[in-house]
């Protein structure tokens, strides 16, 4: 019998409509929330977001923007397993012209540029190539931007602009080898079927250094958790860049261009740049620092079964569990603190589904007789990097990975 008070699930962090709370306010009530909203815990607000089931191949999502779609995964989903279901995987598009019909038999991906032989690969060609599969976290560069202080402009995500899936496809290296990369190649640029609404606006393209593109892990995925990708997650083919932020994971990938000079396109040279400092951290108002394209992810960890401001019973043993990821390597340790970071205890790690995957963890805390518990969780990755205790700041709201804190009230 769980000692957790029922109220532990009736979140303040995502206060639901009164009716949903009265109905129990638990994850099982998802369909009843369809015409409802959530309140995200964003400092200074606005907090309220509609919940929506209106998007194709998607169940309940937090509506950040309708067009181009920005859909956040309700945080409760991350408590349900190590892999994020396709139908609740977050969605982020830059431009509004996105195909809504795709004939898979007519779809092709070009491989061109600084290569021996220009290719146009059909999906049949790609399905006939050697398969690769790996689990990897896909996280928006601006995940948790809404938690930045001072606040910054941009998509005001809480922590749900991330997800973990098992990706199946072919190695980019194999695709490049079929075309034959010429000597002098320095980068590979990726483009998808989405387009700007207005002529002359910068088409969304990203590139990787040639050695990264040929590392054997960067892949073209046609399946996600054993199913074809939802259109909103990049059907029929998506670039997977394990350990790197989602901006590189080009959706509806149909063009691969090998470059013999550094990519000067807007989305590499101007946008998605970070301060070249630890944690991409600068002071508000600071200028004059060097910038680089955003790149590898950093370790993060989250409690998934208990919400901020939940109530626990005095003296109770409270199970605490969650997810962690190492960034661009595995998780070596997850620790929790029940005294606001003075003492730490190691959590038990769940099964290892790959170094780029979420890793589940579990632990427990004993509630005191009165007062509050400030719970913290921190991950250390296999490179020895640990989450910092102070939040980073930059004007784009990128790369938050501070230790998260949760307050529990004892009753």
């Amino acid at each position: 019998m769980s000692a957790v008070n029922q109220n532990i699930f009736a979140t303040n962090r995502r206060r639901l409509l009164q009716s949903a709370i009265m109905a129990g306010g638990m994850a099982a009530a998802f369909p009843a929330w369809a015409d409802s909203f959530v309140e995200l815990a964003l400092p200074g607000g606005p907090d309220r977001r509609d919940l929506t089931t209106d998007f194709p191949e998607k169940k309940l999502m937090i509506l950040q923007r309708s067009r181009p779609p920005l859909l956040e995964t309700p945080f409760e989903v991350f408590d349900q397993g190590v892999f994020t279901p396709n139908n609740q995987f977050f969605v982020r598009w830059h431009w509004a012209v996105i195909p809504q019909q795709i004939d898979i038999a007519a779809f092709g991906v070009a491989v061109r540029g600084h290569v021996d032989k220009t290719l146009s690969l059909s999906m049949a060609d790609i399905l006939a190539m050697p398969r690769v599969e790996l689990a990897a976290v896909n996280q928006c560069s601006g995940n948790s931007r809404g938690l930045f202080q001072p606040r910054v402009a941009g998509g005001q995500w809480e922590n749900g602009a991330m997800g973990n899936a098992r990706w199946t496809g072919v190695a980019l290296r194999d695709v490049l080898d079929r075309a034959g990369v010429k000597a002098g190649a320095v980068a590979v640029r990726f483009n998808g079927l989405d387009q700007p609404v207005v002529d002359g606006a910068p088409d969304f393209m990203k590139s990787l250094d040639i050695d990264h593109a040929r590392d054997g892990e960067v892949m073209l995925a046609f399946q996600m958790n054993g199913e074809q990708l939802p259109v909103l997650n990049g059907f029929p083919l998506r670039l997977i860049v394990p350990g790197w932020y989602s901006t590189y994971w080009v959706k509806m990938l149909n063009d691969i261009e090998v470059l013999d000079a550094p990519d000067q396109n807007f989305w590499m040279a101007t946008a998605y740049r970070i301060p070249d400092t630890p944690y991409a951290n600068v002071k508000p108002g600071e200028t004059g620092f060097k910038t680089v394209p955003i790149n590898r992810m950093l370790p993060r960890s989250f409690v998934t079964n208990v919400r901020n401001h939940a109530t626990v019973k005095a003296g109770a043993t409270v199970p605490i569990r969650g997810i962690a990821f190492g960034g661009d390597c595995g998780v070596s340790q997850v620790e929790i603190s029940a005294d606001d970071g003075r003492g730490w205890q190691a959590a038990a790690l769940g099964s290892d589904t790959g170094k780029y995957s979420f890793r589940q963890w579990s632990s427990q805390v004993t509630a005191p007789q009165s007062g509050n518990i400030t719970l913290q969780v921190r991950a250390t990755n296999t490179k020895g990097e640990v989450q910092p205790s102070e939040p980073n700041w930059n004007s784009a709201g990128f790369m938050r990975n501070v230790i998260e804190r949760i307050q529990l009230a004892v009753a």
Binding site: G45, F55, A96, I98, M123, I126, F266
Partner: protein, 131 residues
């Protein structure tokens, strides 16, 4: 300038695109207008079958509220993006909003008439008061 009189539907989005063409910008037609394949096709190989897709995205929803004060933002901004994310921004300063609007015009080539910029920025600055 013509005003959009009702919540932006997919048709109204096209109308919005036409509106923009009055100010001299070429706006791409939606790819959704292409005819759907008559029968869903599939491609198979080594145990995987992929199915053609034909989906429809929902209406982009509400316009910016606020009667005539919202005319400039409704006329200039909804062709490229819906209102929702703008309305959920934190309280940004006038300088920050000015820079956002300038980014839309110069970097993202939004065909926003210069004479409309002050009214758009005024509207955005006032958002913080309508909690």
């Amino acid at each position: 300038m013509v005003l959009l009189a009702r919540p932006l539907s997919r048709r109204a989005a096209v109308a919005g695109a036409c509106l923009l063409s009055f100010v001299g910008a070429a706006v791409r037609p939606s790819l959704a207008a292409e005819p759907a394949p008559s029968a869903p096709s599939t491609v198979s190989g080594a145990g995987v079958t992929l199915h053609s897709l034909n989906v429809e995205f929902p209406d982009p929803g509400r316009m910016f509220p606020g009667d005539s004060k919202a005319d400039a933002i409704n006329n200039n901004c909804l062709a490229c993006h819906s209102a929702g994310m703008v309305l959920t921004q934190p309280a940004l300063s006038r300088a920050e909003w000015q820079s956002e609007v300038e980014k839309m015009r110069s970097t993202y080539k939004a065909p926003v008439e210069e004479s409309d910029v002050p009214a758009i920025v005024d509207y955005l600055v006032a958002l913080k008061d309508r909690k």
